[in-house]
C-alpha cells in the first residue's frame, strides 16, 4: 500500500513532547524553522517543566514544544495538536487532553514498558485506554529507541549518544509526514554541531533513517501538505522569541538615540532571558548589572538614566511590586526609564512559569501619590521588538518612566519576525538641554509638550540637583508650596497625556459592519484575532480592537468603542482593562470574558463566547 493520500491543510498544529533530556526543544525548533523556510507562517510555544531536573520519566519532567504552521496568517501556537510526537508515557499523560479527535499520535514503543507506566503513574499497561483516547486518535507505534540504535550500530558511538539522537529519528519521520525535504534540516544541524563533527554525523544519519523509515515502510498514514503562505508581507524573516525581541528592541533604540544601553536586572521567571540576552552584547557596549535585588535592579538603572544612558530594567509581577517606589522617583525626577514586566500568574509567587495579564492595574496605579506613567503592552513575540523600541523612544523623548507589559506566553513563544533595518526605524530625539540656553534648572521644560530638559552629568554649566522631593515649577528648588505642588502634579500628568499625540490610532480588524466589538490588549491578540477571523469566515459579524497603548489611550479610542452595539473586553485577569475603560470611556456597557488559569485563551472558547453573543 502506498501513502498516496495527502491531507491538504490550511494549518496544522504539531507538538513534540518527552523527557527534559529528550531534545524536544531542538526538534521543535528545527521543524518550525524548516517549515518557515519552506514558506509557512509559524508560531511556536515551548512548555518547560517547572522543576529543573525532575526524575526521568515522571510527569514533572515533561518538556514540550508546539508549533502551528500554516499557509495563511497564523496568530497563535494553536490550541490542540493535529500531530503529536510522544517520547514516553509521562508525556502522553500530560498531553492527552490536548490532542484533537482524529489526530495522529506517534509514540516510542521502546519507552512504553511496565516500568515507564509506573513512573508516569499509570495503573494499567494500556495508557491509551486509561486516558480514553485509544479509539479517538490514530496511534502510530514506532520503536524509536531501537531503530536509532540500529541506525548507529557499529559506528562506534556510546549508548548515551545513541539514545540522545532518537529525537532526530522522530524529526526525520515528521519531515516525511509533512513532505519536508531534510536537506535544510541537515544544514541547520551543520551549524548547531559545527564543533562536534561526530555528533553531527550521528544526527544526520539518524535523521535520514527516520525520514526513510516513513517512506519505505509505507506507514499506514496519510501525509500532510501545508502550502506556502501567499499573503505574507514579502521580505527576509527569522523566528524570534518575545524576550529576545525585547532585548533587541532596547539595543536598537540605544543605537538610534546614540546612547549607551544600561540594564539593571535581577533574575526572575519569566523575564530573566532578557537580561541574559543583553549580557551577551558587550561588543555593542551594552552594560548589564545583575543587581542584588529587584529594587537595586531599577535603582542602578535610574542612576544610569541620571548619568545619561538609555536605562531599562526587566522583571515580572513580584519584582514590579518591589520597584514601585523607584518608579515613583522616576516620575518625580522626570527621568527616562523603560520597565519591562513579563507578566506571570500571581498574586505573590503565584505560578511563575504560567501566563497572565494580572499586572495591568499594578502598572497603572501601583504607586504612592499622583504618579502617572506611560503603560504599553506588546502583543506577539515578534512585536515585542517594536513596542520595546517605542517604549524607549517615548521614555527618552518625554522624560518619563514607561512600563511595557509582555507576558510569559509571548515572552517564551516565538513568531516570524521581518528583519528590520536601523535606517527604517523611527527617529529617537531626547529632549536635551540646549547648552547655550540661558539659565536652565532641573524643572525647566518645553512649555508645549511639558517635557523637562535633560542635562547630563559631565557637562559644564548644567549642574543641578534632582530628587524625590517636590520642586518649584520655576526655580527647581525644593518646595512645599500648596499651589506649586498642584501645578507640578498637573504638569507631570499633562506631559504623560501628551504622549497620545504621537500614538497611532487603534485599528479595528475583522468585519467592518460588525455588531460585536471584541476588545483585547497585549499578548492575547493572536487568540482573539484567530477567533474573529474564523467567525468572519462563517459570516458572523464580529471585529477586534486590540490595544498596545494603554496609558495614554490612542486618541480615537472613544470614537471606536462607541460605535458598536455590543462590546466585550477579553483579558487574562478578572477584568482590569474593562474597569480602566469604564473610567476612561464611560457610558458604554462593557461585557467581559475573563480567564485566570495561568493559560492563554483557546480560540475555541472565544469563538463559542462571541457566537453566543451574536445570537
Amino acid at each position: 500500500m502506498d501513502t498516496a493520500i495527502v491531507n491538504e491543510l490550511d494549518n496544522v498544529v504539531v507538538r513534540f513532547s518527552g523527557d527534559s533530556g529528550d531534545g524536544m526543544q531542538l526538534t521543535g525548533t528545527l521543524f518550525s524553522n524548516l517549515s518557515a523556510i519552506l514558506g509557512n507562517e509559524i508560531s511556536t510555544f515551548p512548555d518547560f517543566p517547572s522543576e529543573i531536573r525532575a526524575p526521568q520519566g515522571t510527569v514533572g519532567g515533561v518538556s514540550g514544544f508546539q508549533v502551528h504552521l500554516g499557509s495563511s496568517k497564523i496568530y497563535t501556537p494553536g490550541d490542540d495538536a493535529d500531530v503529536m510526537v510522544i517520547m514516553n508515557p509521562a508525556a502522553l499523560k500530560v498531553n492527552a487532553k490536548s490532542i484533537k479527535r482524529g489526530g495522529v499520535l506517534i509514540f516510542d514503543t521502546d519507552s512504553f514498558e511496565k516500568s515507564d507506566f509506573d513512573k508516569a503513574g499509570f495503573k494499567t499497561e494500556n495508557p491509551f485506554a486509561e486516558l480514553s483516547i485509544s479509539e479517538t486518535v490514530q496511534l502510530i507505534p514506532v520503536p524509536l529507541s531501537s531503530l536509532t540504535q540500529k541506525s548507529l550500530e557499529g559506528l562506534g558511538f556510546d549508548n548515551k549518544t545513541v539514545l540522545r539522537s532518537k529525537n532526530m529519528f522522530a524529526l526525520g519521520l515528521v519531515c516525511w509526514l509533512f513532505n519536508r525535504p531534510i536537506d535544510k534540516a541537515v544544514s541547520f544541524l551543520e551549524v548547531k554541531f559545527k564543533k562536534k563533527q561526530d555528533l553531527l554525523s550521528a544526527n544526520i544519519k539518524v535523521l535520514t533513517d527516520g525520514f526513510n523509515y516513513g517512506s519505505n515502510l509505507h506507514l499506514t498514514l496519510s501525509t500532510f501538505q501545508v502550502d506556502k503562505s501567499t499573503n505574507i508581507d514579502k521580505g527576509t524573516y527569522t523566528s524570534i522569541s518575545g524576550n529576545k525581541a525585547t532585548a533587541w528592541g532596547l539595543i536598537a533604540a540605544a543605537e538610534k538615540a546614540g546612547l549607551q544601553l544600561f540594564l539593571g536586572g535581577y533574575p526572575i521567571t519569566p523575564a530573566t532571558d532578557i537580561m541574559q540576552e543583553l549580557s551577551l552584547y558587550k561588543n555593542l557596549g551594552v552594560k548589564v548589572v545583575q543587581a542584588e535585588d529587584e529594587i537595586a535592579g531599577i535603582t542602578t538603572s535610574l542612576g544610569a538614566a541620571f548619568a545619561g544612558c538609555l536605562a531599562a530594567t526587566n522583571t515580572s509581577g513580584p519584582g514590579l511590586a518591589l520597584k514601585s517606589e523607584a518608579i515613583g522617583l522616576a516620575v518625580m525626577a522626570e527621568l527616562p526609564i523603560v520597565i519591562i514586566d513579563v507578566m506571570r500568574g500571581g498574586p505573590s509567587t503565584g505560578m511563575p512559569t504560567k501566563t497572565e495579564q494580572t499586572d495591568l492595574l499594578q502598572a497603572l496605579y501601583g504607586r504612592n501619590g499622583e504618579s502617572p506613567v506611560v503603560v504599553m503592552a506588546a502583543s506577539t513575540p515578534a512585536d515585542c521588538f517594536h513596542f520595546t523600541y517605542m517604549a524607549s523612544k517615548i521614555a527618552l523623548e518625554y522624560m518619563t518612566p514607561v512600563i511595557l507589559l509582555t507576558d510569559a506566553f509571548i515572552g517564551n513563544g516565538t513568531s516570524l519576525w521581518k528583519l528590520p533595518k536601523m535606517a527604517q526605524l523611527p527617529s529617537i530625539l531626547p529632549n536635551y538641554t540646549n547648552k547655550d540656553a540661558e539659565k536652565v534648572n532641573v524643572t525647566s521644560r518645553d512649555e508645549v509638550s511639558k517635557v523637562r530638559y535633560w542635562s547630563i552629568p559631565g557637562v559644564e554649566g548644567l549642574g543641578h540637583r534632582n530628587g524625590g522631593l517636590e520642586k518649584d515649577y520655576n526655580t527647581g528648588a525644593i518646595s512645599t508650596d500648596a499651589l506649586n505642588h498642584a501645578k507640578m502634579v498637573a504638569t507631570r500628568e499633562e506631559k504623560v497625556n501628551n504622549v497620545a499625540n504621537i500614538l497611532p490610532d487603534v485599528q479595528v480588524e475583522g468585519d467592518s459592519t460588525a455588531e460585536l466589538l471584541v476588545i483585547g490588549w497585549g499578548g492575547t491578540h493572536g487568540h482573539l484575532m484567530s477567533a474573529v477571523t474564523n467567525l468572519n469566515a462563517r459570516g458572523e459579524k464580529v471585529a477586534l480592537a486590540h490595544f498596545n497603548y494603554i496609558n495614554p489611550l490612542p486618541q480615537n479610542t472613544k470614537e471606536i468603542i462607541s460605535k458598536y452595539k455590543k462590546v466585550i473586553v477579553c483579558e487574562l485577569n478578572s477584568g482590569q482593562f474593562a474597569s480602566y475603560l469604564r473610567t476612561k470611556v464611560p457610558g458604554v456597557e462593557y461585557l467581559q470574558f475573563n480567564k485566570v488559569q495561568g493559560q492563554p485563551f483557546t480560540v475555541t472558547e472565544l469563538e463559542e463566547c462571541f457566537s453566543s453573543l451574536l445570537k
Binding site: 539593571g264 535603582t299 533595518k421 552629568p457 559631565g458
Partner: protein, 338 residues
C-alpha cells in the same frame, strides 16, 4: 575621577540653597570639609555626582554645586552604582546615614562594598533617626532610651567597620565631625582610593542624641580617647604622646612608653595596606574607655573596581568584535526569504 589644573575654592562647591540642618548639627562641619576637599582635589563640580538616600544627612546634595540626586530611602548605594558604571569618569559620592545605610539600605551597602564600585560613601553615624524625630537606629547603643525604645533598646547594634570588612571592603576610615583636619585628610584619601571608600563620620545630633560622641569630642580629652592612625606610623596617642598600642597574644593593648620597659620601638606600626585585615579590624572595633577609638584611614588596599572591570570587558570585546552595529547583529540571524 578627573581633575584639572583650575584652582577651585570651597565656595565653588557651595550651592545657592539655604542649609536647613539644625544649628549645631554635626552635618554642617562635614559639608564644609567635603566642599574644601573637592576644591583642593580640583575635581570640577560638573564632574562630581553626589547621590543620597533619605534622612537628615541625605539633604547634602542640595547644598553642593555638582550633579546631585536625592533619591529614596536606602537606595543611594544602588543609584550611585548605576551612575558610576554609566559614567566612570565622574567622582561619585554617596551621602548616607546610619538608618539609610545600615537599616533599609543594608543590602545595597554590603553589595556595593563587595563589588568594590569606585564610589565614596560618607556615612553620617549619629546613632539615631533624626528626620523622623528620634527613634533608635541600627547603631544605637543597646539599652539607649529613644522615642521608640522608652525602656531602652534591646537590640545589638551594628558596627559599620565590621560590616564593611565582612563585605570585603577595600577602604575604611573614620573621623569625628568636629575634627576638620582628620575629616579632610580622610576624605582626600577616600577620593583618591579606587574602590568603595567607606568613611564613618561620627556626627552629633544636637536634638535627639546630643553628646552621643561627646566623650570623644571634648577637645581636652580627645587625644586620650582617640587615636589617629596613619599608614606607616607608630600607633601613638595621648595628650603626652606617650601612649601606644601593642599586640599581646591576639589582643591589642594600651601601653605607656617609658613604663614597664616599653620603648617607642615596641609600638605597632599601622599598616593600612595589608591585605590581611585582622589587625585593621581589631583597630576599627576598639571601644572605650579602656581603648582609644581609632580615627583616620584604617584600611586601604588595592583591588579591581567593578566599574573598571565592566568597562574593561566591553573594551576587550569591542576590540575583537566583528559585529559592531545593530544591523550587523540582525544579519547574524538564521534568515529566509518569504
Amino acid at each position: 575621577m578627573e581633575t584639572t589644573n583650575i584652582q577651585y575654592t570651597a565656595k565653588d562647591f557651595k550651592s545657592d540653597q539655604y542649609v536647613r540642618w539644625c544649628p549645631g548639627c554635626g552635618d554642617h562641619a562635614v559639608l564644609n570639609s567635603l566642599q574644601k576637599v573637592l576644591a583642593d582635589l580640583a575635581i570640577p563640580p560638573h564632574q562630581t555626582a553626589i547621590i543620597s538616600g533619605i534622612g537628615c544627612s541625605s539633604r547634602l546634595p542640595y547644598y553642593v554645586t555638582s550633579y546631585g540626586f536625592h533619591t529614596i530611602h536606602g537606595r543611594g548605594a544602588a543609584v550611585a552604582t548605576g551612575v558610576k558604571v554609566a559614567n566612570p569618569k565622574l567622582s561619585v559620592w554617596q551621602i548616607t546615614g546610619d538608618g539609610d545605610c545600615l537599616a533599609i539600605g543594608g543590602n545595597h551597602f554590603i553589595h556595593s562594598v563587595r563589588r568594590n564600585v569606585d564610589i565614596n560613601v560618607l556615612l553620617f553615624n549619629n546613632q539615631i533617626y533624626g528626620l523622623t524625630k528620634g527613634q533608635y537606629s541600627p547603631t544605637t547603643k543597646k539599652g539607649f532610651v529613644t522615642k521608640s525604645s522608652p525602656f531602652g533598646t534591646v537590640e545589638r547594634p551594628f558596627r559599620p567597620a565590621e560590616l564593611t570588612f565582612g563585605a570585603r571592603g577595600t577602604f575604611f576610615a573614620r573621623f569625628l565631625d568636629v575634627d576638620l583636619k582628620v575629616a579632610q585628610s580622610v576624605m582626600t584619601a577616600a577620593a583618591k582610593h579606587k574602590g568603595t571608600s567607606v568613611i564613618e563620620s561620627l556626627v552629633n545630633c544636637i536634638i535627639f542624641n546630643n553628646g552621643a560622641h561627646g566623650w570623644l569630642a571634648e577637645k581636652e580629652n580627645r587625644p586620650d580617647r582617640t587615636i589617629v592612625l596613619e599608614h606607616g606610623k607608630p600607633m601613638i596617642f595621648g595628650k603626652e604622646r606617650n601612649k601606644g598600642l601593642v599586640l599581646e597574644g591576639m589582643t591589642l593593648k594600651v601601653v605607656t612608653i617609658g613604663e614597664d620597659g616599653v620603648a617607642e620601638s615596641d609600638i605597632l606600626i599601622h599598616d593600612a595596606h595589608a591585605q590581611d585585615s585582622t589587625i585593621q579590624l581589631k583597630l576599627a572595633l576598639m571601644e572605650g574607655p579602656e581603648m582609644p577609638i581609632a580615627m583616620g584611614v584604617i584600611r586601604e588596599v588595592e583591588d579591581e573596581t567593578y566599574d573598571a572591570a565592566v568597562e574593561a570587558q566591553i573594551t576587550e570585546e569591542q576590540a575583537k568584535a566583528k559585529i559592531k552595529t545593530f544591523d550587523e547583529l540582525v544579519a547574524t540571524c538564521e534568515q529566509w526569504e518569504m
